[in-house]
Every structure is written in C-alpha cells, then in structure tokens.
C-alpha cells in the first residue's frame, strides 16, 4: 500500500488524540510524535527488534469493527514504575519494582491511548470500532513484539507499521506505541485518505 501524505495525516490525527487523552488522564503533558510510517517485512522487522534485550512492560489491544488495528504500547520496566506513581497520584519514586500496580498502569494507559485513536475513526469518520481488553506482558522487548506480531505474521508477509515515541513532561519517560492496520483496513485507510 502506498504511504501518502493523507495517510500520514490520518495517523497523525490519531496520535494527537491519543496524546491529548493521555495528558488529561495523568494530568501531566505527554507529547507523542510519529517517528515513521512504513511497510515492513515481518522477518526483517522482528529481526531488528529481537536484537534488543531490554526488560519492558507492554500492553496490546485489538481494535475491531469497520477498521482493524493491532495496537502496542510499551515502556521500559523501570519507567513503568514512574507511570504507576503518576496514575496513582503518588510521589514519583514511590514504586520501585514491577508489580500489579505497574501492570495496571500500563494496561490503563494502553486503554486510554487506543480509545483516543478509536475516537478519530468513530467521531471524525463515523466508523464503528470495538476494543478488546488489553493483554499485558512483562518480558524481553523482543518477546513482547513477537507476541504482538504473531496473529498478523500468520497471514501476512508484510505489515504497515506506524511507529511513535513519546515523552512525559518533567519525568524523562520514553514510551513507544505501535499501530498495525490489518491488510483489509489498509484499503479503508486508503479510501479515507483519498477523500481528505
């Protein structure tokens, strides 16, 4: 699928909505930036990501309905503790190890972000979207990616990746968010972007 300016605009719109929703939720500025939107071979992209051995906490969500996406949010395990403190309105530094609160924090952020993205399609483009409960994994970054890719990799050799990083103001927390539309949704996105 061709990645054109209009498609980038739709992706940016989704990311901006997600960014606003997250900032409201944690009451601290969160700036999400789209790093890249590209087509990737599943073996190459997972090979690249498997080279990393970081410990992360990730949450993935399936968006279904008129447009289907796979959504992944992940953060370094240490930084997930800071996120838990922000969400629980505790002094930053209270949480020191990964536990059920950090797991819930990552789960909740993934919910907020994916709902922000879904709202672009439901309110701006009148499309129906369902959102699955988040699945949270605390593991090697490569393993989190593999499980995220698994159901797509079964049917496709190539995927469209929308890759973002974001920063939480004053806390120096770097988070990552990936969105992969399924092959049928790429056609819907193409239609939307052509009508803009």
């Amino acid at each position: 699928m061709a990645i054109n300016k209009a498609l980038k605009f739709v992706a940016q719109l989704s990311i901006d909505k997600a960014s606003q929703a997250l900032s409201r939720f944690i009451r601290v500025g969160a700036k999400i930036e789209m790093d890249d939107i590209y087509m990737a071979d599943i073996s190459e992209i997972t090979g690249k990501l498997s080279a990393e051995s970081d410990e992360v906490v990730g949450a993935f969500i399936d968006l279904g309905g008129d447009v289907k996406f796979k959504f992944l949010f992940f953060v370094n395990a240490q930084d997930s503790c800071l996120l838990a403190d922000l969400i629980l309105r505790r002094p930053v530094g209270t949480t020191t190890t990964y536990d059920q609160y950090t797991s819930s924090a990552v789960q909740e952020i993934a919910n907020i972000l994916s709902c922000g993205i879904a709202s672009v399609f439901t309110s701006d483009f009148q499309l129906g979207i369902t959102i699955s409960p988040p699945t949270v994994i605390h593991d090697f970054v490569g393993t989190v990616f593999l499980e995220y890719f698994m159901s797509i990799a079964v049917e496709q050799n190539e995927v469209m990746m929308i890759e973002t990083t974001f920063k939480i103001v004053q806390q120096n927390i770097n988070c990552h968010m990936f969105i992969i539309p399924d092959s049928k949704t790429e056609k819907v996105l193409s239609y939307i972007s052509n009508t803009l």
Binding site: S43, T143, L146, A153
Partner: protein, 160 residues
C-alpha cells in the same frame, strides 16, 4: 575470535559457517537449531506454526513460518551451502512458551511436537531442548562450538 552476530526474525532462517553467532528472541515460537561439528556450520529457523495445511498457506506466504515446510527447506539450504549431510547434523530446540495465558490452545507445545516429528522424519537427532514455560527466551547459537546460550526472562543464562 570475534563472531559476527546474525539475528533471525520470525518466519525466517539463516544458514552460516563459524565464526558466526545466530540469535533470536522467542515467545510461543520455536527456534530449530541445526549444527554440524564436522563442518563448523549451522542454521537457525524461527517457526510460528506447526504445519502449513491449516489453509493459511496461500501463494507467496513464507514457508519458513511452518515446521513442516521450514525445517526441510532449511536443511536443504544447509546441505547446499555448507555440504552438511543428515548423519553430520544434530538439532536443538528452544522456545514454545505459553506467554498469553488467556489463549486456550498451547501453540508453543504444538510447535515443538511438530518440529520433533519433522526432524525424526528427516533422521536428524534432537540432542538438546529447552522449551515451555510462561516467559520469553533469548537464544544465541555459537557456530564455533555448537553451544546455545539460552536465557529465559528473569532467569540465569544456561548453556545447551
């Protein structure tokens, strides 16, 4: 001697001669490592599903996704590129964890069973395996020694 590291992504395999380290991360996928100490050569395949007969195998889909098509293809490549015969070759298996607890079927276990069956059919002996569990794996396969360093998330590195 410094070895070059080659990372193997899902639905892919790499064939190489020493000094090379083949590495990958695994969840429910299985890494099938083949090695010939005679040739100091080996290969690693990263499969995601047990067999290609599930109807998913459409035209153009990568055969390395499946145990039944990926393992024979990888062995043929190892034979062509490095001259490794069946009798020179041994296999090691890693991965196959059940990462997603809410998913009822255990795809990792099915992958391991299928990989073992294909290797048996080809006449390749499985000399080591570390499979199962609920956490991810990180494996590094050194083609100088034939040893595989395997780390399960949260645990110490073990050698097989």
């Amino acid at each position: 001697m410094n070895s070059q590291e080659i990372v193997v992504g899902i639905a892919d395999y790499k064939v190489a001669k020493a000094p090379v380290v083949l590495s990958t991360n695994l969840g429910s996928c299985i890494a099938v490592c083949l090695y010939s100490s005679l040739h100091k050569a080996g290969s690693m395949l990263h499969i995601i599903l047990p067999d290609s007969s599930s109807g998913i195998n459409k035209d153009g889909i990568k055969t390395a996704k499946f145990a039944d098509t990926g393992i024979p293809e990888m062995f043929n490549k190892l034979q062509q590129v490095c001259g490794v015969g069946i009798n020179d070759c041994v296999a090691k298996l890693f991965g196959g964890a059940k990462i997603l607890q809410q998913v009822s079927n255990n795809i990792g276990q099915a992958n391991e069973i299928a990989a073992r069956a294909v290797l048996k059919q080809l006449g390749i002996r499985v000399v080591a395996a570390k499979t199962g569990g609920e956490k991810g794996y990180r494996v590094k396969f050194d083609l100088i020694t034939g040893k595989v360093q395997c780390q399960i998330f949260g645990e110490e590195i073990m050698e097989y």
